[in-house]
Assembly symmetry: C2
Homo-oligomer: 199 residues x 2
Protein backbone atom coordinates (compact mmCIF):
# COMPACT_ATOMS: atom_id res chain seq x y z
CA UNK A 1 0.00 0.00 0.00
CA UNK A 2 1.12 3.53 -0.65
CA UNK A 3 0.26 5.21 2.63
CA UNK A 4 0.98 8.73 1.44
CA UNK A 5 1.35 11.42 4.03
CA UNK A 6 -1.08 14.32 3.83
CA UNK A 7 0.50 17.28 1.99
CA UNK A 8 2.19 19.97 4.02
CA UNK A 9 0.21 23.06 4.95
CA UNK A 10 2.34 25.46 2.88
CA UNK A 11 2.06 23.20 -0.16
CA UNK A 12 -1.73 23.29 0.04
CA UNK A 13 -1.68 27.07 0.42
CA UNK A 14 0.71 27.56 -2.48
CA UNK A 15 -1.32 25.34 -4.75
CA UNK A 16 -4.41 27.45 -4.09
CA UNK A 17 -2.46 30.68 -4.58
CA UNK A 18 -1.08 29.38 -7.86
CA UNK A 19 -4.46 28.43 -9.28
CA UNK A 20 -5.86 31.86 -8.43
CA UNK A 21 -2.85 33.72 -9.79
CA UNK A 22 -2.83 31.66 -12.98
CA UNK A 23 -6.52 32.29 -13.60
CA UNK A 24 -5.97 36.03 -13.22
CA UNK A 25 -2.87 36.03 -15.37
CA UNK A 26 -4.47 33.98 -18.16
CA UNK A 27 -7.53 36.23 -18.09
CA UNK A 28 -5.33 39.29 -18.56
CA UNK A 29 -2.77 38.02 -21.06
CA UNK A 30 -4.38 35.03 -22.70
CA UNK A 31 -2.70 31.68 -23.12
CA UNK A 32 0.63 33.45 -23.61
CA UNK A 33 0.81 34.43 -19.95
CA UNK A 34 4.24 33.24 -18.85
CA UNK A 35 4.81 30.80 -16.03
CA UNK A 36 7.31 33.24 -14.54
CA UNK A 37 4.65 35.95 -14.27
CA UNK A 38 2.18 33.52 -12.72
CA UNK A 39 4.77 32.53 -10.12
CA UNK A 40 5.57 36.16 -9.34
CA UNK A 41 1.88 36.98 -8.95
CA UNK A 42 1.40 34.06 -6.58
CA UNK A 43 4.46 35.16 -4.62
CA UNK A 44 6.41 31.95 -5.17
CA UNK A 45 9.39 30.82 -7.22
CA UNK A 46 9.05 29.44 -10.71
CA UNK A 47 10.20 26.01 -9.60
CA UNK A 48 7.24 25.76 -7.25
CA UNK A 49 4.87 26.01 -10.21
CA UNK A 50 6.40 22.98 -11.85
CA UNK A 51 6.41 21.06 -8.58
CA UNK A 52 2.63 21.35 -8.39
CA UNK A 53 1.90 21.10 -12.14
CA UNK A 54 4.26 19.08 -14.30
CA UNK A 55 3.70 21.27 -17.36
CA UNK A 56 1.99 24.53 -18.15
CA UNK A 57 -0.80 22.52 -19.79
CA UNK A 58 -1.45 20.64 -16.55
CA UNK A 59 -1.95 23.97 -14.82
CA UNK A 60 -4.43 25.04 -17.47
CA UNK A 61 -6.24 21.72 -17.14
CA UNK A 62 -6.58 22.12 -13.38
CA UNK A 63 -8.17 25.55 -13.78
CA UNK A 64 -10.58 24.32 -16.44
CA UNK A 65 -11.76 21.24 -14.56
CA UNK A 66 -12.46 23.38 -11.47
CA UNK A 67 -14.62 25.73 -13.50
CA UNK A 68 -16.49 23.03 -15.37
CA UNK A 69 -17.21 21.13 -12.18
CA UNK A 70 -18.67 24.29 -10.66
CA UNK A 71 -21.17 24.49 -13.54
CA UNK A 72 -21.80 20.77 -13.29
CA UNK A 73 -22.84 21.14 -9.65
CA UNK A 74 -24.98 24.17 -10.42
CA UNK A 75 -26.82 22.15 -13.07
CA UNK A 76 -27.58 19.40 -10.58
CA UNK A 77 -28.97 21.93 -8.13
CA UNK A 78 -31.17 23.45 -10.84
CA UNK A 79 -32.48 20.01 -11.77
CA UNK A 80 -33.66 19.56 -8.19
CA UNK A 81 -35.45 22.90 -8.30
CA UNK A 82 -38.86 23.26 -9.90
CA UNK A 83 -39.03 25.39 -13.04
CA UNK A 84 -37.66 23.70 -16.20
CA UNK A 85 -37.61 26.92 -18.24
CA UNK A 86 -35.92 28.92 -15.51
CA UNK A 87 -33.32 26.18 -15.08
CA UNK A 88 -32.06 26.59 -18.65
CA UNK A 89 -32.10 30.36 -18.34
CA UNK A 90 -30.28 30.33 -15.03
CA UNK A 91 -27.71 27.81 -16.16
CA UNK A 92 -26.79 29.85 -19.22
CA UNK A 93 -26.76 33.03 -17.16
CA UNK A 94 -24.42 31.51 -14.59
CA UNK A 95 -22.12 30.14 -17.26
CA UNK A 96 -21.91 33.54 -18.90
CA UNK A 97 -21.38 35.29 -15.57
CA UNK A 98 -18.50 32.94 -14.80
CA UNK A 99 -16.90 33.85 -18.11
CA UNK A 100 -17.62 37.52 -17.62
CA UNK A 101 -15.63 37.59 -14.39
CA UNK A 102 -12.68 35.89 -16.05
CA UNK A 103 -12.86 34.82 -19.68
CA UNK A 104 -10.84 31.63 -19.98
CA UNK A 105 -12.75 29.97 -22.79
CA UNK A 106 -9.68 30.05 -25.02
CA UNK A 107 -7.99 27.63 -22.64
CA UNK A 108 -10.36 24.88 -23.72
CA UNK A 109 -8.81 24.55 -27.16
CA UNK A 110 -5.34 24.15 -25.67
CA UNK A 111 -6.24 21.14 -23.55
CA UNK A 112 -9.03 19.40 -25.44
CA UNK A 113 -6.97 16.23 -25.74
CA UNK A 114 -6.27 15.84 -22.03
CA UNK A 115 -8.36 13.05 -20.50
CA UNK A 116 -9.04 14.81 -17.17
CA UNK A 117 -10.42 17.84 -19.00
CA UNK A 118 -12.52 15.64 -21.28
CA UNK A 119 -13.90 13.84 -18.22
CA UNK A 120 -14.91 17.11 -16.54
CA UNK A 121 -16.52 18.25 -19.78
CA UNK A 122 -18.46 14.99 -20.04
CA UNK A 123 -19.72 15.39 -16.48
CA UNK A 124 -20.92 18.89 -17.31
CA UNK A 125 -22.42 17.74 -20.62
CA UNK A 126 -24.48 15.05 -18.90
CA UNK A 127 -25.99 17.67 -16.59
CA UNK A 128 -26.75 20.02 -19.46
CA UNK A 129 -28.39 17.19 -21.37
CA UNK A 130 -30.69 16.55 -18.41
CA UNK A 131 -31.58 20.22 -17.95
CA UNK A 132 -32.27 20.69 -21.65
CA UNK A 133 -34.25 17.46 -22.00
CA UNK A 134 -36.54 18.44 -19.16
CA UNK A 135 -37.13 21.90 -20.62
CA UNK A 136 -37.78 20.38 -24.06
CA UNK A 137 -40.30 17.92 -22.64
CA UNK A 138 -42.14 20.83 -21.02
CA UNK A 139 -42.18 22.83 -24.26
CA UNK A 140 -40.04 25.52 -22.68
CA UNK A 141 -37.56 25.38 -25.54
CA UNK A 142 -37.93 24.29 -29.14
CA UNK A 143 -38.09 20.59 -29.90
CA UNK A 144 -35.13 20.46 -32.30
CA UNK A 145 -32.53 21.72 -29.82
CA UNK A 146 -30.22 19.28 -28.00
CA UNK A 147 -28.07 19.56 -24.92
CA UNK A 148 -25.00 19.67 -27.13
CA UNK A 149 -26.46 22.67 -28.93
CA UNK A 150 -26.90 24.49 -25.64
CA UNK A 151 -23.39 23.52 -24.53
CA UNK A 152 -21.96 24.97 -27.72
CA UNK A 153 -24.05 28.13 -27.57
CA UNK A 154 -23.11 28.67 -23.94
CA UNK A 155 -19.98 30.70 -24.59
CA UNK A 156 -21.37 32.76 -27.46
CA UNK A 157 -22.77 35.72 -25.49
CA UNK A 158 -19.41 36.50 -23.87
CA UNK A 159 -17.55 35.93 -27.09
CA UNK A 160 -19.81 38.37 -28.89
CA UNK A 161 -19.70 40.98 -26.14
CA UNK A 162 -15.93 40.63 -25.91
CA UNK A 163 -15.45 42.36 -29.22
CA UNK A 164 -16.55 45.69 -27.77
CA UNK A 165 -13.34 47.56 -26.91
CA UNK A 166 -14.00 49.07 -23.50
CA UNK A 167 -15.90 46.24 -21.84
CA UNK A 168 -19.51 47.18 -21.25
CA UNK A 169 -20.44 45.31 -18.08
CA UNK A 170 -23.26 42.84 -18.56
CA UNK A 171 -23.46 43.40 -22.32
CA UNK A 172 -23.44 39.63 -22.62
CA UNK A 173 -26.97 39.69 -21.16
CA UNK A 174 -28.18 41.40 -24.32
CA UNK A 175 -26.88 38.64 -26.58
CA UNK A 176 -27.89 35.89 -24.23
CA UNK A 177 -31.42 37.30 -24.54
CA UNK A 178 -31.20 37.15 -28.35
CA UNK A 179 -30.05 33.53 -28.20
CA UNK A 180 -32.72 32.59 -25.67
CA UNK A 181 -35.31 34.06 -28.04
CA UNK A 182 -33.75 31.92 -30.75
CA UNK A 183 -34.10 28.84 -28.54
CA UNK A 184 -37.76 29.49 -27.70
CA UNK A 185 -40.46 27.57 -29.58
CA UNK A 186 -42.19 30.81 -30.63
CA UNK A 187 -41.66 31.56 -34.31
CA UNK A 188 -38.99 28.90 -34.69
CA UNK A 189 -38.03 28.05 -38.27
CA UNK A 190 -36.79 24.49 -38.95
CA UNK A 191 -33.05 24.14 -38.41
CA UNK A 192 -30.75 23.07 -41.25
CA UNK A 193 -27.99 20.51 -40.51
CA UNK A 194 -28.27 17.76 -37.92
CA UNK A 195 -27.28 18.48 -34.30
CA UNK A 196 -23.65 17.52 -33.62
CA UNK A 197 -22.37 14.95 -31.16
CA UNK A 198 -19.12 15.41 -29.25
CA UNK A 199 -16.28 12.87 -29.44
Amino acid sequence: MTATRPPRADAVRNRRLLLAAAADEFAEHGLDASVADIARRAGVGKGTVFRHFATKDDLVAAILTDRMDALHHLGERLLASGDPAAAVREFLTAAAAQRQERDLSFLAAATESMPEVAAARDRMMATIDAVVARARDHGAIRADITGTDVFLLMCAPNYVAGYVPDAVPDLWRRYLAVILDGLSPEGAQPLPIQPPTLT
Copy 2:
Protein backbone atom coordinates in the same frame (compact mmCIF):
# COMPACT_ATOMS: atom_id res chain seq x y z
CA MET B 1 6.96 65.67 -55.88
CA THR B 2 7.56 62.06 -55.09
CA ALA B 3 7.12 60.43 -58.48
CA THR B 4 7.40 56.84 -57.24
CA ARG B 5 8.15 54.15 -59.74
CA PRO B 6 5.66 51.31 -60.10
CA PRO B 7 6.78 48.23 -58.11
CA ARG B 8 8.67 45.48 -59.88
CA ALA B 9 6.72 42.49 -61.21
CA ASP B 10 8.33 39.94 -58.88
CA ALA B 11 7.64 42.18 -55.89
CA VAL B 12 3.94 42.28 -56.74
CA ARG B 13 3.88 38.51 -57.17
CA ASN B 14 5.71 37.88 -53.91
CA ARG B 15 3.40 40.17 -51.99
CA ARG B 16 0.42 38.20 -53.24
CA LEU B 17 2.09 34.88 -52.46
CA LEU B 18 2.90 36.09 -48.97
CA LEU B 19 -0.64 37.18 -48.17
CA ALA B 20 -2.03 33.83 -49.31
CA ALA B 21 0.63 31.82 -47.48
CA ALA B 22 0.15 33.86 -44.31
CA ALA B 23 -3.63 33.40 -44.36
CA ASP B 24 -3.19 29.63 -44.70
CA GLU B 25 -0.53 29.47 -42.03
CA PHE B 26 -2.52 31.57 -39.54
CA ALA B 27 -5.63 29.47 -40.20
CA GLU B 28 -3.68 26.30 -39.40
CA HIS B 29 -1.55 27.42 -36.48
CA GLY B 30 -3.28 30.48 -35.08
CA LEU B 31 -1.58 33.75 -34.33
CA ASP B 32 1.53 31.83 -33.27
CA ALA B 33 2.33 30.88 -36.86
CA SER B 34 5.95 31.91 -37.30
CA VAL B 35 7.16 34.36 -39.91
CA ALA B 36 9.77 31.82 -40.97
CA ASP B 37 7.08 29.24 -41.76
CA ILE B 38 5.05 31.79 -43.69
CA ALA B 39 8.10 32.69 -45.78
CA ARG B 40 8.88 29.03 -46.44
CA ARG B 41 5.28 28.37 -47.50
CA ALA B 42 5.38 31.32 -49.88
CA GLY B 43 8.70 30.09 -51.28
CA VAL B 44 10.67 33.22 -50.35
CA GLY B 45 13.29 34.20 -47.80
CA LYS B 46 12.38 35.53 -44.39
CA GLY B 47 13.86 38.93 -45.18
CA THR B 48 11.37 39.36 -48.00
CA VAL B 49 8.48 39.19 -45.56
CA PHE B 50 9.84 42.15 -43.63
CA ARG B 51 10.50 44.12 -46.81
CA HIS B 52 6.78 43.97 -47.65
CA PHE B 53 5.42 44.20 -44.10
CA ALA B 54 7.45 46.11 -41.52
CA THR B 55 6.26 43.91 -38.67
CA LYS B 56 4.28 40.72 -38.25
CA ASP B 57 1.35 42.85 -37.10
CA ASP B 58 1.38 44.78 -40.38
CA LEU B 59 1.04 41.49 -42.23
CA VAL B 60 -1.93 40.52 -40.06
CA ALA B 61 -3.48 43.92 -40.66
CA ALA B 62 -3.16 43.56 -44.43
CA ILE B 63 -4.96 40.21 -44.37
CA LEU B 64 -7.74 41.55 -42.17
CA THR B 65 -8.41 44.67 -44.20
CA ASP B 66 -8.66 42.58 -47.37
CA ARG B 67 -11.27 40.35 -45.81
CA MET B 68 -13.28 43.15 -44.27
CA ASP B 69 -13.32 45.09 -47.51
CA ALA B 70 -14.67 42.02 -49.31
CA LEU B 71 -17.64 41.95 -46.93
CA HIS B 72 -18.02 45.71 -47.26
CA HIS B 73 -18.39 45.40 -51.02
CA LEU B 74 -20.81 42.49 -50.68
CA GLY B 75 -22.97 44.63 -48.38
CA GLU B 76 -23.12 47.40 -50.95
CA ARG B 77 -24.20 44.96 -53.62
CA LEU B 78 -26.92 43.56 -51.35
CA LEU B 79 -28.17 47.08 -50.66
CA ALA B 80 -28.64 47.58 -54.38
CA SER B 81 -30.65 44.36 -54.62
CA GLY B 82 -34.31 44.21 -53.66
CA ASP B 83 -35.15 42.11 -50.60
CA PRO B 84 -34.26 43.71 -47.22
CA ALA B 85 -34.77 40.50 -45.23
CA ALA B 86 -32.76 38.40 -47.64
CA ALA B 87 -29.96 40.98 -47.58
CA VAL B 88 -29.39 40.50 -43.84
CA ARG B 89 -29.58 36.74 -44.20
CA GLU B 90 -27.19 36.64 -47.13
CA PHE B 91 -24.72 39.01 -45.54
CA LEU B 92 -24.49 36.92 -42.38
CA THR B 93 -24.27 33.75 -44.43
CA ALA B 94 -21.45 35.13 -46.53
CA ALA B 95 -19.58 36.37 -43.48
CA ALA B 96 -19.87 32.96 -41.85
CA ALA B 97 -18.84 31.19 -45.05
CA GLN B 98 -15.73 33.36 -45.28
CA ARG B 99 -14.79 32.36 -41.75
CA GLN B 100 -15.62 28.72 -42.42
CA GLU B 101 -13.09 28.55 -45.24
CA ARG B 102 -10.37 30.09 -43.08
CA ASP B 103 -11.12 31.16 -39.54
CA LEU B 104 -9.01 34.21 -38.85
CA SER B 105 -11.31 35.97 -36.40
CA PHE B 106 -8.70 35.74 -33.67
CA LEU B 107 -6.49 38.07 -35.68
CA ALA B 108 -8.87 40.96 -35.00
CA ALA B 109 -7.96 41.16 -31.32
CA ALA B 110 -4.26 41.38 -32.14
CA THR B 111 -4.59 44.45 -34.35
CA GLU B 112 -7.57 46.33 -32.96
CA SER B 113 -5.44 49.38 -32.24
CA MET B 114 -4.07 49.75 -35.78
CA PRO B 115 -5.70 52.67 -37.64
CA GLU B 116 -5.85 50.97 -41.04
CA VAL B 117 -7.71 48.01 -39.54
CA ALA B 118 -10.06 50.33 -37.66
CA ALA B 119 -10.75 52.20 -40.89
CA ALA B 120 -11.62 48.99 -42.77
CA ARG B 121 -13.84 47.94 -39.90
CA ASP B 122 -15.62 51.30 -39.95
CA ARG B 123 -16.25 50.97 -43.70
CA MET B 124 -17.77 47.56 -43.13
CA MET B 125 -19.75 48.79 -40.12
CA ALA B 126 -21.32 51.58 -42.16
CA THR B 127 -22.54 49.06 -44.72
CA ILE B 128 -23.93 46.75 -42.06
CA ASP B 129 -25.72 49.68 -40.45
CA ALA B 130 -27.41 50.44 -43.76
CA VAL B 131 -28.41 46.82 -44.42
CA VAL B 132 -29.78 46.41 -40.90
CA ALA B 133 -31.59 49.76 -40.87
CA ARG B 134 -33.40 48.91 -44.08
CA ALA B 135 -34.45 45.49 -42.76
CA ARG B 136 -35.59 47.04 -39.50
CA ASP B 137 -37.66 49.64 -41.32
CA HIS B 138 -39.36 46.85 -43.25
CA GLY B 139 -40.12 44.86 -40.11
CA ALA B 140 -37.88 42.05 -41.30
CA ILE B 141 -35.93 42.06 -38.03
CA ARG B 142 -36.90 43.17 -34.54
CA ALA B 143 -36.94 46.88 -33.79
CA ASP B 144 -34.45 46.85 -30.92
CA ILE B 145 -31.54 45.42 -32.90
CA THR B 146 -28.81 47.72 -34.28
CA GLY B 147 -26.16 47.32 -36.94
CA THR B 148 -23.55 47.03 -34.20
CA ASP B 149 -25.48 44.13 -32.71
CA VAL B 150 -25.43 42.31 -36.04
CA PHE B 151 -21.74 43.08 -36.51
CA LEU B 152 -20.98 41.56 -33.12
CA LEU B 153 -23.20 38.52 -33.67
CA MET B 154 -21.65 37.93 -37.08
CA CYS B 155 -18.82 35.69 -35.90
CA ALA B 156 -20.81 33.74 -33.34
CA PRO B 157 -22.00 30.85 -35.54
CA ASN B 158 -18.46 29.88 -36.53
CA TYR B 159 -17.18 30.35 -33.02
CA VAL B 160 -19.86 28.05 -31.67
CA ALA B 161 -19.42 25.43 -34.39
CA GLY B 162 -15.65 25.56 -33.93
CA TYR B 163 -15.89 23.82 -30.57
CA VAL B 164 -16.89 20.56 -32.23
CA PRO B 165 -13.70 18.48 -32.52
CA ASP B 166 -13.83 16.99 -36.00
CA ALA B 167 -15.25 19.91 -37.96
CA VAL B 168 -18.76 19.19 -39.18
CA PRO B 169 -18.98 21.10 -42.46
CA ASP B 170 -21.70 23.74 -42.47
CA LEU B 171 -22.58 23.21 -38.82
CA TRP B 172 -22.41 26.98 -38.50
CA ARG B 173 -25.62 27.13 -40.56
CA ARG B 174 -27.47 25.51 -37.68
CA TYR B 175 -26.42 28.18 -35.20
CA LEU B 176 -26.85 30.98 -37.67
CA ALA B 177 -30.45 29.78 -37.99
CA VAL B 178 -30.89 29.94 -34.21
CA ILE B 179 -29.53 33.48 -34.14
CA LEU B 180 -31.65 34.56 -37.10
CA ASP B 181 -34.70 33.26 -35.22
CA GLY B 182 -33.53 35.32 -32.26
CA LEU B 183 -33.29 38.39 -34.49
CA SER B 184 -36.75 37.97 -35.96
CA PRO B 185 -39.63 40.05 -34.59
CA GLU B 186 -41.69 36.92 -33.85
CA GLY B 187 -41.88 36.16 -30.14
CA ALA B 188 -39.16 38.67 -29.27
CA GLN B 189 -38.81 39.46 -25.58
CA PRO B 190 -37.51 42.95 -24.69
CA LEU B 191 -33.70 43.09 -24.56
CA PRO B 192 -31.89 44.04 -21.36
CA ILE B 193 -28.89 46.41 -21.58
CA GLN B 194 -28.56 49.17 -24.15
CA PRO B 195 -26.99 48.39 -27.55
CA PRO B 196 -23.24 49.13 -27.57
CA THR B 197 -21.38 51.60 -29.76
CA LEU B 198 -17.87 50.93 -31.05
CA THR B 199 -14.94 53.29 -30.31
